[in-house]
């Protein structure tokens, strides 16, 4: 069966890997690009035009910290001029009132402000930097502008018990959308997984709190909740399906089907310095590799859910099963699900005193 090729809908623009934070679950690869390898303003501007022509509606400016780019205003203007909806995913650390006003003036549509916790102590521990107070200041400044605001709380064992306080922060802001996204275990998060996975009891409690909040805040704040997929029955439809909706450009211009795709051995990535976005989307072997269904193994190959979850996450399959074409091992139908169950059972049966002790985190360093 052949699958008709759809247009990409969103471009994830990793403008830089430089970042003032050192979060222990950062989605950047373990090997990061230096400033010297970053794409120029001109190349990014061309990429935005090509993206809009290929059908992309939205550009997600991320990193690292996108505000570390000194040409950030030009990049916002270029993406808006190309006709894209511009979303800035930021730690808020390099923000000040004048910069925010200039970004809004340049046409920024949406700010997504990340939070590492509801309280200073845990937030600073997780980010390896004094960061929390500044984020609260940014929230106040955002109230002065007509712009969409999303708060993104990254959730794990050591802050999942602060949900009520996180909701209070959201309600005191002008955010219309809040994401409570459990850490997904790739890259830095995979390295720190032992200390990040929440317990089953924590997870169940958090689901109850957020369901109540969703009901209570209807029409005011949309609440989105991402569970840690190790606890799920079926895998997530990672990236909305490989090479189906999204593409990511790294700071040095490589086009990837997802954040973590570089962990998969044997995939060759094309670079936007050499080829157009449309060419890459349609013909890059890395995008073709897991597009559609031909690559699937059993049980995915004949599964009724294969057009809903697309076999789950390829990178997770590689990390847990050692085979990027395997069924995502978090799926209850996967032959390797017992491996995930063993990880959960080990953690959930450990004494509480042991699993809540302050860990020796592996912090993400900052590239030059």
């Amino acid at each position: 069966m052949t699958t008709e090729l759809s247009n990409p809908l969103a471009l994830i623009a990793e403008l830089t890997h430089r970042c003032p934070l050192h979060c222990v679950y950062c989605s950047n690869p373990l090997e990061m690009q230096s400033r010297a390898n970053e794409l120029s303003t001109e190349t990014w501007s061309r990429v935005f035009k090509e993206a809009a022509q290929a059908g992309v509606l939205q550009a997600d400016f991320t990193g690292g910290e996108p505000l570390a780019r000194t040409d950030i205003l030009e990049l916002v203007r270029a993406a808006r001029a190309a006709g894209l909806y511009v979303n800035l995913i930021t730690s808020g650390l390099p923000m000040d009132e004048a910069k925010l006003a200039a970004l809004v003036e340049a046409g920024l549509d949406h700010v997504q402000l990340s939070f590492q916790g509801a309280r200073e102590e845990i937030a600073n521990e997780i980010s390896g930097a004094r960061s929390h107070e500044q984020k609260l200041r940014v929230l106040e400044w955002l109230k002065q502008h007509r712009i969409a605001v999303t708060l993104n709380f990254v959730i794990h064992r050591r802050n999942i018990d602060q949900l009520e306080e996180m909701l209070a922060i959201a309600e005191s802001s002008n955010a219309t959308r809040v994401e409570f996204a459990n850490v997904q275990y790739y890259g830095w998060a995979f390295a720190n997984r032992e200390n990040l996975l929440p317990t089953r009891e924590q997870l169940n409690h958090s689901v109850e709190i957020l369901k109540r909040a969703q009901e209570r805040l209807k029409g005011k704040i949309r609440i989105q909740f991402v569970v840690p997929d190790y606890y799920a029955k079926y895998p997530k439809p990672c990236m909305g399906g490989w090479g189906r909706k999204l593409l990511l450009i790294t700071p040095s211009g490589d086009a990837l089907p997802c954040h973590a795709a570089q962990v998969i051995p044997g995939l060759a990535f094309e670079n936007v310095r050499d080829k157009s976005l449309r060419e890459i989307w349609e013909h890059s072997p890395a995008f073709q590799k897991f597009r559609g269904e031909a690559w699937m193994q059993e049980p995915c190959k004949t599964c009724d859910r294969r057009d809903q979850d697309f076999g789950g996450c390829r990178c997770q399959a590689l990390l847990l099963a050692g085979d990027a074409a395997a069924t995502d091992p978090v799926c209850s139908l996967a032959p390797l699900r017992p491996k995930v169950d063993a990880i959960l059972a080990g953690m959930n049966s450990a004494p509480r005193a042991e699993i809540f002790v302050k860990p020796n985190w592996l912090y993400r360093p900052n590239p030059s």
């Binding site: 809908l9 939205q58 006709g83 909806y85 979303n87 605001v149 999303t150 002008n174 959308r177 005011k220």
Partner: protein, 92 residues
């Protein structure tokens, strides 16, 4: 709750129509997009903080004069309530 007929619907911060030159016309929102055509486009184009709900209804009843007026009204009210629930619309 259906919106008040005298209120002025206006697209919420961070929600906007794509440019007239771009096809298909799309309502861009944080992390989502809605393709618009026909009546849905006519409605959203009028959610500018200058038209009341009643004016939008009157306009569309004229444009879709072959449709049952009550049906046009209830469809519009339903659509505006839906956009409000999705945080795409404010009423002032």
């Amino acid at each position: 709750m259906p919106p008040d007929l005298t209120s002025f619907p206006r697209l919420a911060p961070g929600c906007r129509l794509n440019d007239k030159s771009q096809q298909p016309r799309t309502l861009l929102m944080p992390e989502r997009a809605l393709r618009l055509n026909g009546p849905s486009l006519e409605i959203v184009e009028r959610c500018d903080g200058k038209h009341t709900v009643q004016q939008i209804i009157t306009d569309l009843q004229k444009i879709y004069s072959k449709a049952v007026p009550q049906k046009v009204e209830s469809d519009i009210l339903g659509y505006l309530a839906l956009l409000h629930e999705q945080r795409a619309l404010d009423f002032t």
